[in-house]
């Protein structure tokens, strides 16, 4: 059970950062997974008063506040257009509208869950995270770091000339995925982020001149998968090939 002794809706990032240096304190995102932990929190740090729930689109990038909900990602027309619908596809299977109105992009990326559709998607967007003290860091690097006590402020998605796709496999609707696969095709070739292996999503790059079948075979040979309640390592390896092939076909289609 989660218990909280004090609650503080902070008025500045500095206040959030200072409070967060104490080990017993916690930043509250959507509180979906946090609530299911057995944890005694000293002070719950609420960022919801800082206006970090918006998605800004400029000529060159998207600037997504850490408190933006997964539902906001799902409904944002600019993100939908830029990602060829992949952003919406990556989040729409996550439980239900009510949960996605609460769950935040910052909470998802900070937590770096292995099963995270959100982390999988943002990895192929070449996203960067802006940390209050740590500055701007590539998400691919942040995802591999141990969790620290900095404050994740926003996510920056640069606009590039690229095409995106998102695929996932679930045993039943609204369950967490057995495997996720976000993909991008640009002038450098293809990149596939595959998550729920069940470990955290990783990127597999493929050159532009390979066929879908060759890429599926290459990723199947390279990927490290494991077994869990939802599927065996062999099943996940097989699925990785299937999703890469489907993604490659979708990316190649006009």
């Amino acid at each position: 059970m989660l218990t909280i002794r004090e609650y503080k809706k902070v008025e500045s990032l500095e206040e959030a950062y200072t409070l967060n240096q104490k080990k017993s304190n916690r930043v509250i995102g959507g509180m979906i997974w946090l609530k299911m932990e057995t944890l005694n929190v000293g002070t719950a740090i609420d960022l919801s008063g800082l206006g970090l729930d918006t998605i800004e689109e400029t000529e060159t990038e998207f600037r997504i506040g850490a408190m933006a909900s997964l539902r906001a990602l799902e409904l944002h027309e600019g993100l939908a257009a830029y990602t060829n619908g992949a952003m919406r596809e990556s989040v729409r299977h996550i439980v239900g509208v009510q949960l996605r109105n609460l769950a935040t992009v910052g909470g998802s990326l900070y937590s770096r869950f292995g099963f995270s559709d959100v982390l999988t998607m943002f990895l192929v967007l070449d996203a960067q995270v802006e940390l209050y003290k740590g500055g701007i860091v590539p998400l691919s690097e942040y995802a591999e770091r141990p969790k620290d006590r900095d404050i994740l402020v926003r996510i920056i998605v640069p606009k590039k000339n690229a095409k995106f796709n998102y695929q996932s496999v679930r045993i039943s609707q609204t369950d967490i995925p057995v495997l996720t696969c976000a993909s991008v095709k640009d002038e450098n070739g293809y990149r596939f982020a595959i998550g729920a292996r069940p470990a955290r999503a990783q990127i597999y790059a493929q050159p532009v001149d390979k066929t879908a079948e060759q890429m599926a075979e290459a990723v199947r040979a390279e990927i490290k998968t494991g077994s869990s309640l939802r599927g065996s390592a062999e099943y996940r390896r097989h699925l990785a090939g299937v999703l890469v092939r489907r993604a490659a076909h979708a990316l190649d289609a006009e």
Binding site: L2, T3, I4, R5, E6, Y7, K9, I28, G30, M31, I32, K35, M36, V41, A44, D46, S48, R71, R92, V95, G96, V97, Q98, L99, N101, L102, Q173, T174
Partner: protein, 157 residues
């Protein structure tokens, strides 16, 4: 700590613990339609509107809801009676425990989309679990309600 919110149109102020959940707060203020089904943020039974958006009240701190507008089924009796009759006509539910959360999210759907397809209905309501039924009755009830509403609007023109 002292919090205040607008609950079903009325200003409510109360002293709560830092970890009081919104579900417990609204139930303590008479909104017993709000049910605790799973406690793992999956079933949708505790759905309320926070500033018009459907959320799971089991996963919101009452403190975070302070200053916001909260609506439960108790505050939507007109819409609930109108739509609920169509669900009852289909005999869609057996025990009825999931009904308030389902009604809330269906009303949110109707407000967001005037004329949803079956796929859009299923996607929007995927986070509302019912363990008695197979959802077919609910889907028929929703279709019948939407058809009736459309007919009523056409007749009015």
């Amino acid at each position: 700590m002292l919090i205040t919110m607008t609950l079903n149109g009325k200003k409510v102020a109360d002293d709560v613990a830092a970890d009081t959940l919104l579900i417990d707060f609204v139930r303590n203020h008479g909104c017993l339609s709000v049910k605790r089904g799973c406690e793992t943020a999956n079933c949708g039974l505790c759905t309320v509107f926070m500033d018009e958006k459907p959320v799971l009240s089991c996963s919101v701190l009452a403190a975070r809801a302070s200053g916001h507008t909260i609506t439960t089924l108790e505050g939507l009796q007109g819409e609930a009676a109108e739509f609920g009759a169509f669900i009852a006509d289909q005999g869609a539910e057996q025990c009825g425990f999931c009904n308030p959360g389902f009604m809330m999210n269906a009303i949110a759907l109707f407000r967001e989309k005037q004329d949803p397809t079956d796929e859009e209905i299923k996607e929007y309501l995927a986070g509302n679990l019912c363990r008695c039924s197979g959802y077919e009755g609910q889907l028929r009830g929703i279709r019948a309600y939407l058809d009736w509403k459309k007919q009523r609007e056409e007749d009015a023109q």
